[in-house]
């Protein structure tokens, strides 16, 4: 699945999340994941939104998001020049005789064991979405009991910060895209 990652700065005010989520539902945009949290500036929150590129015109998403009054900035992140990470907690079946193998898998993927019961382990994995998908594929064979993922967060590589990047939805971009 082709996905597009949008970094969105929003005002940290009540109702902002519902404005963003409501937009996606009203415009029939498909959202793969949405992660939101505070930034260094307490007045601003940052959302990382991953949209399904096949069914959703990402430029249109950016433009419509930018029209929301509480949205400050929309930047499309190219995954080739961005660091993308996702955290997952995975409860996996781990009978004593298979525990060793599982720990090996976990260590290959840099996942930590954060809880253990007589027949399960909870792994904590932080990695790129693709690597996380491969870990999950392997764990599937062991028997994944329960899974929670945070959704993707991303930052552009290099010294540029989001406030330097031109706004994805600015008028000039609409004109030059024509």
């Amino acid at each position: 699945m082709t996905t597009h990652t949008l970094s969105v700065l929003v005002e940290n005010k009540p109702g902002v999340l519902s404005h963003v989520a409501g937009l996606f539902s009203r415009r029939a945009f498909n959202i793969s994941s949405l992660a939101v949290g505070p930034t260094a500036d307490e007045r601003v929150s940052r959302m990382t939104i991953v949209v399904d590129g096949a069914s959703t015109p990402v430029d249109q998403v950016a433009h419509q998001l930018d029209k929301l009054v509480r949205v400050l900035k929309v930047v499309q992140l190219d995954s080739a020049v961005a660091v993308e990470r996702e955290l997952a907690l995975i409860k996996v079946r781990a009978e004593p005789e298979r525990r060793g193998q599982l720990l090996e898998v976990a260590s290959v993927f840099g996942a930590n064991v954060v809880d253990m019961s007589p027949d399960t382990l909870v792994l904590e994995a932080v990695s790129s979405p693709a690597k996380l998908d491969s870990l999950l594929a392997i764990l599937h064979d062991y028997g994944t009991c329960e899974l929670v993922r945070t959704g993707r967060v991303a930052l552009a590589r290099g010294s540029a910060v989001i406030t330097d990047v031109p706004d994805e939805a600015a008028a000039e971009r609409a004109e030059s895209a024509a």
Binding site: V69, A171, A174, A178
Partner: protein, 587 residues
């Protein structure tokens, strides 16, 4: 100075220059109604909050200013929802003020509680639940700013009762904090130059004019551009009146029920210049087949419209007024620099041929049933186009926009995008409030009329002499037409009957003048009598032919090439129309 939230609200509205609000009080908004009584604002007490919403819209359409409506919490607020959705679709500047249950009760399913900011989130340009009394002036100022700038739209401000009752410090103007709200700056001169060059060299250009031209008050700039570019102009349902219908370059309305010359011109154009228009499905027909030979210039104040439905070759984002002036200037400059002037003579000759061969056509027999088109045409003649025409949604709306010859902007008001039945009477009320002393005529259907007729009481009491011409065919006519054409004449639940209610008695019961007319020869006399009433509304029950359809018609979802001229055209004529003869008449 210390004021209550309610006083701050009313004072803020006064400071915004609001002269009239349409509303209906109730529990949660009561604190605001007390200072309203002693304010400079005129409050018009409607009979249903939907009427307040559409009246605010009609006021905004007619004046270009922000329309304001007020309702209480819960059902009062939800009754505004249709009007808000309507205003959102048609980019109508409007501010809705709603009362809300006290902050402490929000979320508790309190009496008359509704999450109106949640409900209206997808149908407002912005909304806000105000959480402190200090915030009131800024919330109102921001609401007016957002509603009226950029692409206009409705903004809702929800005020909990305790916020209205609390006391806080007042100052004006407040500091607006809208870091995420941007209005496009001056348009790109290079984009304007590129578009002007396309216009200069196009041989078959069409200016596809949308509601943005009216909203930006740039009809004069449009006319200058059309004349310099020698480009024909088609005005969408939202733009009727932006360009005089009698102008030689006018093609009329495009789209599903558009005039043949406009629809066909877009299909044959080599350049379509969309000005404040959004490539709506009712205009384009099947999108993939729309204007297939044309390069596209798209000018709009909303960057999100660019490329939403059709990718343009040149996009210009910004206010249409400087864009249109810039395009005309660029053409004038290149002419004075010796460049070849636009050469559209052959194209205009072709279009003139189409206008002659395929005009709007209907048959009014002297002793036959009354045709709605005839009523509209007589109204147009008798008023000379000097009226504000308001329509509901359906056949009467299409007949009105087709057969009234518009001469100026803001003389046509209707529900375009949302297609809200029941729009006409309350919107006419709002238009009459905004344009006192002018002739405001609602052309309505019998189905539409019954949805909001209660506002006749408001009009009668407020001495708003709107005219309501009911095209009474006893059916939900447009639905009936679709059932006739697409459902094998199975008329499923569309017959309303012409006799109930008795519209004359109903009008009289509401304190209005009521009249009835069912013969063509009486139309002029009845219209003259209705137009002469100046103190209360006049309602005319025109008993019109129940089988009359709206034509031309492009069946929904089909290409505009599939345009059907209608029963008044012969099979030969229909075939000729489908061929679209591109030889200028007489050559």
């Amino acid at each position: 100075m210390q004021l209550t939230g309610a006083q701050a609200l009313v004072r803020s509205l006064e400071q915004q220059g609001v002269d009239v609000v349409f509303g209906l009080p109730g529990g949660a908004i009561l604190p605001a109604y007390d200072p309203l009584l002693s304010s400079s604002l005129r409050h018009i007490l409607v009979r249903h909050e939907q009427g307040a919403g559409h009246a605010a819209e009609g006021y905004a359409w007619a004046t270009g200013r922000v329309g304001v409506c007020i309702a209480t919490s819960g059902p009062g607020a939800t009754n505004l929802v249709t009007a808000l959705a309507d205003a959102y679709m048609d980019s109508v500047p409007m501010v809705a003020i709603t009362g809300q249950v006290p902050s402490a009760l929000i979320g508790s399913d309190a009496f008359q509680e509704a999450d109106i900011t949640g409900i209206t989130l997808p149908i407002t340009k912005h909304n806000e639940l105000v959480t402190s009394v200090e915030r009131v002036p800024a919330a109102i100022a921001e609401a007016f700013h957002i509603a009226s700038t950029g692409r206009p739209g409705p903004v809702l401000v929800d005020l909990p009762k305790d916020v209205l009752q609390a006391t806080g410090s007042w100052s004006w103007p407040p500091v607006m904090e809208l870091p995420g709200y941007r209005v496009p700056g001056p348009p790109s001169t290079s984009a304007i130059r590129a578009a002007a060059e396309l216009l200069r060299t196009a041989r078959r250009p069409v200016l596809y004019v949308g509601g943005g031209v009216i909203k930006s008050d740039s009809h004069e700039e449009l006319r200058r551009l059309a004349e310099i570019a020698r480009a024909p102009v088609t005005t969408t349902l939202m733009a009727r009146g932006a360009f005089p219908d009698a102008h030689p370059l006018a093609l009329g309305m495009p789209g599903m029920h558009g005039m043949y010359p406009a629809v066909a011109a877009l299909q044959e154009a080599d350049l379509v210049v969309a000005l404040g228009a959004r490539f709506d499905d009712r205009v384009t027909g099947r999108l993939a087949d729309f204007a297939p030979k044309a390069r596209i210039v798209h000018a709009d104040i909303d960057p999100a419209e660019i490329g939403k439905n059709r990718i343009p070759d040149v996009a210009i984002v910004g206010d249409l007024k400087p864009i249109l002036a810039g395009l005309a200037d660029a053409l004038a400059e290149s002419a004075s620099a010796g460049a070849q002037a636009p050469d559209t003579a052959d194209w205009l000759a072709i279009l003139d041929g189409w206008k002659r061969e395929f005009p709007l056509r209907y048959a009014q027999q002297a002793d036959g049933p009354l045709k709605p088109q005839y009523v509209v045409e007589r109204l147009s003649r008798l008023t000379g186009g000097d009226a504000v025409v308001v329509a509901g949604v359906g056949q009467h709306q299409m007949h009105a926009t087709q057969h009234f010859s518009f001469t100026r902007p803001r003389s046509w008001i209707n529900s375009g995008g949302a297609g809200t039945m029941g729009f006409a009477v309350p919107a006419a009320m709002g238009a009459q409030v905004g344009r006192p002393g002018e002739l405001v005529v609602a052309i309505d259907g019998d189905g539409c009329f019954q949805m909001t007729a209660q506002e006749l009481a408001t009009c009668a009491i407020e001495k708003l002499p709107i005219k309501v011409l009911i095209m009474n065919n006893g059916f939900l006519g447009m639905v009936r037409q679709w059932q006739e054409l697409f459902y094998g004449e199975r008329y499923s639940y569309v017959e309303l009957g012409t006799a109930i209610p008795d519209y004359v008695k109903l009008a009289e019961a509401y304190g209005c003048v009521g009249m009835r007319c069912d013969r063509p020869e009486d139309v002029d006399a009845v219209l003259e009598k209705a137009l002469a009433v100046t103190d209360v509304p006049a309602v005319v029950d025109f008993r019109v032919h129940d089988r009359e359809g709206v034509f031309p018609m492009v069946p929904a979802g089909q290409s505009n090439d599939a345009i059907v001229l209608g029963p008044e055209f012969s099979a030969d004529e229909q075939r000729a129309a489908a061929r679209r003869d591109m030889n200028p008449a007489g050559t």
